[in-house]
Every structure is written in C-alpha cells, then in structure tokens.
C-alpha cells in the first residue's frame, strides 16, 4: 500500500486553476521529485498536502487515513512535515531552540527535546551553530536549519520545497548529499526542485507538473525526454 496518495486534487484561485485533478502515489521509502516551470502548481500542491490550503476537489491520504480537512499542525503530528520555499526560521530563537520546537511535537520532556535537537543539528552539519540565531545564518545554513526542524518532528513523509533555490553553486552538492543521506536512511521524501540537473541526480522518480496538471511521471530519463516536458520547459521550438 502506498504511504502517501494524492487523488484528483483540484484548487482554483478565482479564475486560475492552480491544481487540476492531480493524482499520484508515493511508496514508503521513495524519493519523488516534483518539477515544473513557474506557475505549474508545485507549491500549491505542497500547501494542500500539508493542510495549509483546503483543496476544492480531491483528497490526500497518509497510509490510508484522510489528511484533507485537518489543520496543518495536525497534519504534521500525523507524520507529514514540510519546509518552506521562502525560508522562515524563527529569527529571534537560536538554532537549537528552533529545532527544539519541532522535537517538542513528539516529546513532552524539554531536556530530551534539547538532546534530540543537538543530534539532529549535528546530522545536518550545523553542530557548530547551535547557539546562532536564525537571522545570523547564511541561506545555505538556514536551509539546513529548516530541514533539521522538520526532521525533529519525526515525519513519515518529508516535503522539501526548493532545497537548492537561492544558494550559491558551491553549497548545492552538500545539500543534495544531505537529502540523499536522508533517503538512504529510509525516509520518504517529496522534493520540489526547479533545477533539472539537481533533481535528476537526486530523485529516482519524477512527477512533472505543467499548468496545474501532471504531464509526466516516471524515471528521470523518461521524464526529461518526454515531449510535453521539454515543450513545457523550453517551448515547442526545441521538440523537433
């Protein structure tokens, strides 16, 4: 049975249909990349899965149980965590406190949460920065912090929105490796990424969205050679 299933999800904003009957399944332990040009509906889909937007039609299920209709905090407690495309660490709190907030969703013991947060920060490569405040970290470090915070909630599925966006080229490989390590550790991941090279190197399976619809779903090789995907990204001139 699939761990996460998205069935016929449709979302309209006024006259714009951001998601149009989107359906796909994610198996336990899979790493699925979501690609698509700007405005394809990737972020909207994440907002719907994580409970921030209600869909107009369709539903999302985790392990067979309905997530649609639950508030975002409940969705997280059920086991779906997310990061934000526009980073939002708690700016006035230290990195440790940031991650502790995530850990405290699973444990009531503050001391235990602090230990867990320390471990997770070390795991994402921020072991030296535990006392740094959210606002003093670089973009790459903040990405890691967001990841750590979400991991601390012990998710069954982790949604990553644009892991490599806005960080400089030298930082990208480290972040990609981190995501790969998480996947190798057995975590199920859904990763939005606009950088084609990054996603094909990272995800064994890719779902391509265009104008709110799924236009391709398969291995990187199949998806990147799909006629509609190439058209969507580059325009018709390149498909000859």
């Amino acid at each position: 049975m699939s761990l996460l299933s998205v069935t016929g999800v449709t979302k309209r904003f006024g006259g714009i249909t951001a998601n149009k009957g989107i359906s796909f399944e994610v198996q336990p332990g899979e790493l699925v990349g979501i690609i698509g040009p700007n405005g394809a509906g990737k972020s909207t889909l994440f907002e719907i899965i994580s409970g921030f937007y209600p869909p107009d039609e369709g539903e999302v299920r985790l392990d067979g149980a309905r997530l649609t209709g639950l508030s975002p905090d409940v969705v997280c407690r059920r086991g779906v965590a997310r990061t934000f495309q526009k980073l939002r660490p708690f700016p006035g709190m230290t990195a440790l406190d940031n991650v502790m907030v995530g850990a405290l969703t699973r444990t009531k013991d503050v001391r235990h949460a602090r230990e867990q947060a320390r471990e997770i920060l070390a795991r994402v490569g921020l072991g030296e920065k535990i006392e740094a405040h959210g606002r003093t970290l670089s973009t790459g470090q903040r990405k890691r912090l967001e990841l750590a915070r979400a991991l601390a909630t012990q998710p069954r599925v982790l949604l990553l929105d644009e892991v490599t966006a806005g960080v400089d080229q030298r930082t990208i490989p480290g972040l990609v490796q981190l995501v790969r390590d998480l996947h190798a550790g057995g975590l199920t991941l859904l990763v939005i990424e606009h950088n084609m090279r990054v996603i094909t190197a990272m995800a064994p399976r890719i779902v391509a969205l265009y104008l709110g619809e799924v236009i391709a779903d398969g291995t990187p090789d199949v998806v990147t050679h799909d006629r509609r995907v190439v058209e969507a990204y580059l325009g018709q001139a390149y498909t000859q």
């Binding site: 994580s50 921030f52 508030s71 975002p72 905090d73 409940v74 997280c76 407690r77 965590a81 997310r82 934000f84 939002r88 660490p89 708690f90 700016p91 006035g92 709190m93 406190d97 502790m100 907030v101 995530g102 405290l104 969703t105 009531k108 013991d109 503050v110 949460a113 915070r149 979400a150 601390a152 909630t153």
Partner: protein
C-alpha cells in the same frame, strides 16, 4: 539559578521592606509598584510571550475590580470569592478575545481589544441598576483577612507581592516549558509553528485567557485596596497603556521586565503627580507626555527593553574583557 537571581533579590527586597519601612507614602508606592508590575507581567503573558499585543487589558482588570466590589456590596460575599469570580469571567472573556486574535492580526487585533474595553466601560457606566453606573461603587470596609478589610499597608505589600510572585512564576513556566517554546514559535512565525505541529490557535487563546484571569485578580485586589471602583478609571485605555508600558519598557517577553518597568513608570508618575498635582496645576497630565517620550526613546535605543539592554551591556563587558 543565576538567571532568576535578580528576581529573587527584587522580590526579597519588596517582601522585607515592610519590616523596616513604616512610612505610609513609601509603602503605598511599593504596593503600586508591585500591583502595576503584576498587571504588566500578566499583560506580558499575552503581549510579550504570545505576541498578542492588546490595549484593552483594562477590560479584564475592570471585570476583576467589579466582581470583587459587587460581591462585597450586593451579596455580602468575601472579595476573595469575588476575585475568583472575576478571574473566571475574565477567562471566559479572554477566550472571546482570543478567538478574535485568530481572526484579526496586528493592528486590527489591537483595535478590537480597545473597542472591547470601551464597550465594557459604556456597559458599566449605563447599567445603573447593577453596577451603580458612572458614580462608581464604594467598597465597604469590613475588617478582617477574609473580607480583605486591611488597614495595615504592610499586609497589603505581602498580599500583592504574593500575586506578583505568582504571575512571575507563570512567566517563568512560559520560558522553560514545552508550551513556552511552542508559544515563542507562534509569536515568531505562526505558519512555521503550525507546520511543526504546534497547535498555534489553541495556545494563543489559552495564553490570552490566563493573562486575562491574572489581570482580573490584580483588579480585584486593587478594588479592595483603594476602596472605590470607578468605571471610567478601571476600564480606561490609560490603564491598558500602563500595563503594556511596564512590560515594553522593562522588556517584552522577559519575566522580570514588567516589574522593572513598573518601578520606573510608577515612581516617575507618583513623583510627577506629587510635584505638579494640586488644584489649578497645569501640568497634572505631564506623566502622560513622559510615557510617550519614554516609549519613543526605548523603541529607538533599547527595543529589547531594560532587561535586554542590561544583558547587552553585560555581554559587551565580558566580550571586552575576553579580547585584551
């Protein structure tokens, strides 16, 4: 232990002062410092820790004051029961305001809280049959602890100090507990907190309700201490500003801050009233101008409040010593 040492000193000095000080004027000043400090700290739970800035907290203070006064005059009940009833009514009202905070954010929430206190002011002024209207209620003095008819100001210091310590402990809980961390996350970024599984709405409402109950307790004691409840005063925006000012000057979201802020605000105000008070004095309201100036200076130079400012100084000095 080191973190709460200043607070221990502060409360110990306040608690021991009545053993030495006999002067009624000074004891009255101390009671007011503790009273406005406790109210500021209660405000801080919602405004500082939960980030729900309200300028209508006099609504809760007034509810507490009226509950105590009405229990005494109408039903011959102990003001302690009045305090309890006031706290319960304020909690219920806090839930309503808390619900509003989930609908309205930023300035709209502030405006709603002001409106709320003004509605209560009008209600209390017009409902003559029950509240005695705008004339206010003189609280009868019936000697005894159970009836809170206490003439000895030293005892009042200890009573108000107990409440102050209680509110301080609630704040301390919010700094160290799981709920405290979660509330801080909600204050910093509500959506991010939600995404991490924090029940943001429930926490905000609970913080406002607790803040309301403690503010009402302050109101109830104040009514008994002063012996008179006047709707125009207890529901005034002035009073709401005083609570928030003590917390903002002292340090938003710090446990000792509101008490330090209260020392500043209360002493300056008492001094200015005594200095420029009296009939025909044109400068009676000067403390309000000073409030405004103090707020501007603080926001410009020490937005973290006194506690944050002192902490910064200390860190600078340690850093200076570390680098020869």
């Amino acid at each position: 232990m080191r973190a709460i040492a200043p607070a221990l000193v502060f409360f110990a000095v306040a608690g021991l002062a009545p053993l030495v000080v006999r002067d009624a004027f000074l004891l009255d000043g101390l009671i007011l410092i503790l009273m406005w400090g406790a109210a500021g700290a209660a405000w801080n739970i919602a405004g500082g820790y939960a980030g729900q800035v309200s300028l209508g907290h006099s609504a809760f203070f007034g509810l507490g004051a009226y509950a105590a006064a009405l229990c005494g005059t109408r039903w011959q009940l102990s003001p302690w029961i009045g305090l309890l009833i006031g706290a319960l009514v304020a909690t219920a009202t806090g839930f309503i305001i808390g619900y509003l905070s989930n609908r309205l954010r930023g300035p709209y929430f502030v405006l709603a809280t002001i409106a709320f206190s003004q509605v209560l002011l009008i209600g209390a002024s017009r409902w003559r049959g029950f509240t005695a209207g705008s004339e206010g209620i003189p609280v009868p003095f019936r000697p005894g602890f159970w009836t809170l008819g206490i003439a000895d100001k030293r005892v009042w210091v200890w009573i108000v100090l107990t409440l102050a310590v209680l509110v301080y402990l609630v704040q301390l809980y919010l700094e160290r507990s799981r709920r405290g961390y979660q509330l801080a996350a909600v204050r910093e970024d509500e959506d991010a907190a939600l995404s991490l599984g924090v029940p943001a709405r429930r926490l905000k409402v609970a913080a406002i309700a607790v803040s309301a109950a403690l503010t009402a307790a302050c109101g109830a004691l104040w009514a008994q201490y002063v012996g008179f409840v006047d709707p125009v005063y207890v529901f005034s925006v002035d009073l709401s500003v005083r609570f928030s000012l003590a917390a903002i000057l002292g340090g938003l979201g710090t446990a000792l801050g509101p008490f330090l802020g209260s020392v500043l605000v209360t002493t300056v105000e008492t001094y200015l009233r005594a200095r420029f008070g009296g009939i025909g004095a044109g400068l009676v309201g000067i403390y309000l101008i000073l409030y405004g100036c103090a707020l501007i200076v603080m926001v410009r130079f020490a937005p973290q409040g006194l506690v944050g400012w002192i902490g910064d100084r200390r860190r600078h000095r340690t850093a200076a010593r570390a680098t020869p």
